[in-house]
Amino acid sequence: MLNKDDVLHIARLAHLDLSDTEVEKFSAQLSDVLELFSKIDGLDLKDEAETSQITGLENVFRADEIKKYPSLTDTKTSELVESAPIHSGNEIKVPKVIEEN
């Protein structure tokens, strides 16, 4: 069961601002979903291997050469940069994270 503090803690980890109503609603709803998973609580799986993907593909590399993505051959850098809220020239700008002392 998740209480309000748990929800706020998870929201903080997930980088999410929540309203008070959301915190209230989510603590009940998230608890219900976790309850759904209680089925697997008692299972002993110590000796089982983990499966994170099923293709069996390993180390898929490409040749180490500079190549334009085929789907981007006629795309200008400026087009990509202009999607960002703040940009100048070919650069995306972000708020300052290091303070001068």
Binding site: I10, A11, L13, E22, L36, S52, L72, S83, P85
Partner: protein, 492 residues
């Protein structure tokens, strides 16, 4: 003749014989969308100008004897989760509202290379999180068979657009049933291909170890035609398989005599609507009549598959959604006011931009990956995935394909489960075990049930081993002809 009501293979023949042009086909579809889409609401974006331009180009090619194949000039819709150069791609989410991609997804490029006319982008549960399109941040799509009901989801707009004849075929994505469940609820054919069969480059990611892209169509043959055009290895997606793509349509068999069809007893244990059960039983009887051999099998870990699927999916969702940070693209508080700290930009842009279901999944995923819970949830789910996969491997040692229901109920009412995530998650109970196993599966319309005096379609699911798409098409194609339920259209 209503051109928009044709199957792809029918229209392809008419185009080939120059009895109709792609422009005629495209105009008919656009007129029909204009007439009915205010009620069905399949489309987030209709791109009429681009579509007519593509249609004219197709007609010019045909006149010059330079057609690009059987799909040249065919009108299709695409789920708004696939990036389309110059055309808004939103994932039906506020955080990507107005986002215009600078490139085409590989699947879009392949469709264009095959001459397909893309008529619009279809609605979905935002970021493909849901089973009804009610989680779309924009609006809910309506089921063409009964407008008061959901079309299923998350590819609900795609399935509805095919069922309502607003296109000839569509592209959906499937992470836990998002092609198959809406196909069942809308009475169309939807294939979830083998994991890695179709490139995901340029498709907005939901859960990367589970996501696949596949066709939604008016017949098995049409689905096979579309898959053939979009399948294959892509250097831009390292998870794509190098196996050759079969000539699915050419190879279709004319008989299923002796084909072993497994019926997993766990899928028939409880919880299925009685009328739905009758449709599935009728499909099983029909297979027997056609000479198929019915074999009772067991997938013993079915009971754990739902938890396995949801834990892995939620974890991967929380990771994939971290890219929406208000810095690179999409909704951002920086667009209003540049004087914010980086942390404010993250928290507020995401808090404003994500809808309720995306937030729920983000938090649940973060929770199952967080210190103290990782072993109990995520690690355990990875181990259970081994068992779920082994169930299918063992079963396919005994049978050629497996037949199950797709959804425990027909289309439910809009609003019925909208604020109850657990009930919504349970509506995927027969489709979610397939994705962790990676195997392909189709939803084929198999009959109708009647609710409130209206006929509602019901599908059956046919599952094959890895890369067994041909086997699925063979069985589905023959079963489809025998069941013969495609004469009726949802909206006439």
């Amino acid at each position: 003749m209503d051109l928009n009501k044709l199957t792809i293979s029918q229209a392809s023949k008419l185009l080939e014989n120059k009895e109709v042009s792609s422009r005629q086909l495209t105009e008919t579809v656009l007129d029909w969308i204009k007439k009915i889409d205010s009620e069905v609401k399949s489309f987030v974006t209709v791109c009429a100008d681009e579509a007519l331009k593509a249609a004219d180009a197709s007609d010019v090619r045909r006149k010059a004897g330079k057609t690009l194949g059987p799909l040249d000039g065919i009108v299709m819709s695409v789920k708004d989760l696939l990036c389309t150069r110059g055309i808004t791609t939103t994932a039906s989410s506020n955080i990507l509202k107005g986002f215009v991609p600078q490139f085409d997804a590989t699947v879009i490029k392949k469709l264009k290379d095959a001459g397909v006319v893309i008529v619009g982008k279809t609605n979905l549960d935002a970021f493909a999180h849901g089973s009804s399109t009610e989680n779309s941040d924009f609006f809910t799509t309506h089921n063409p068979w009964d407008l008061s009901r959901v079309p299923g989801g998350s590819s609900g707009g795609s399935a509805a657009s095919v069922a309502a004849d607003e296109c000839l075929g569509s592209i959906g994505t499937d992470t836990g049933g998002s092609i198959r469940q809406p196909s069942s609820l809308c009475g169309v054919v939807g294939l979830k291909p083998t994991y890695g069969r179709v490139s995901r480059y340029g498709v907005i990611a939901m859960a990367s170890s589970l996501d696949v892209i596949g066709p939604i169509a008016k017949s098995t043959k049409d689905a096979a035609m579309i898959l053939q055009a979009i399948a294959g290895r892509d250097p831009l997606d390292g998870t794509t398989l190098d196996a050759p793509v079969d000539e699915y349509v050419k190879n279709l068999t004319s008989s299923i005599k002796g084909v072993k069809v497994g019926i997993p007893k766990e899928y028939f244990a409880s919880g299925m609507d009685e009328d739905v059960a009758k449709v599935v039983e009728n499909a099983i009887e029909t297979i027997k009549k056609l000479g198929g051999e019915i074999v009772e099998i067991s997938l013993p870990h079915t009971d754990y598959a739902l938890s396995t699927y949801y834990i892995l999916q939620l974890a991967e969702v929380s990771s994939n959604l971290s890219r929406y940070d208000g810095v690179k693209y999409g909704h951002s508080i920086l667009r209003e006011n540049q004087k914010h700290s980086l942390e404010e930009v993250y928290f507020k842009s995401r808090g404003e931009g994500f809808g309720a279901e995306a937030k729920r999944r983000l938090m649940l995923g973060t929770y199952v990956l967080s210190a103290g819970y990782y072993d109990a949830y995520y690690k355990k789910a990875l181990k259970l995935r081994t068992l779920v996969k082994r169930d299918f491997d063992n079963a396919f040692g005994k049978v050629d394909v497996i037949l199950t229901p797709v959804s425990p109920t027909p289309a439910f009412k809009i609003g019925e489960k909208a604020d109850d995530p657990v009930q919504m998650y349970l509506s995927d109970i027969y489709t979610v075990p397939i994705n962790p196993a990676g195997v392909p599966a189709i939803s084929l319309p198999a009959g109708f049930v009647v609710r409130d005096g209206k006929k509602l379609p019901v599908g059956v699911q046919i599952i094959a081993p890895m890369l067994g798409e041909q086997k699925i098409f063979d069985v589905s194609n023959i079963l489809e002809k025998e069941l013969n339920i495609f004469n009726e259209r949802a909206i006439s």
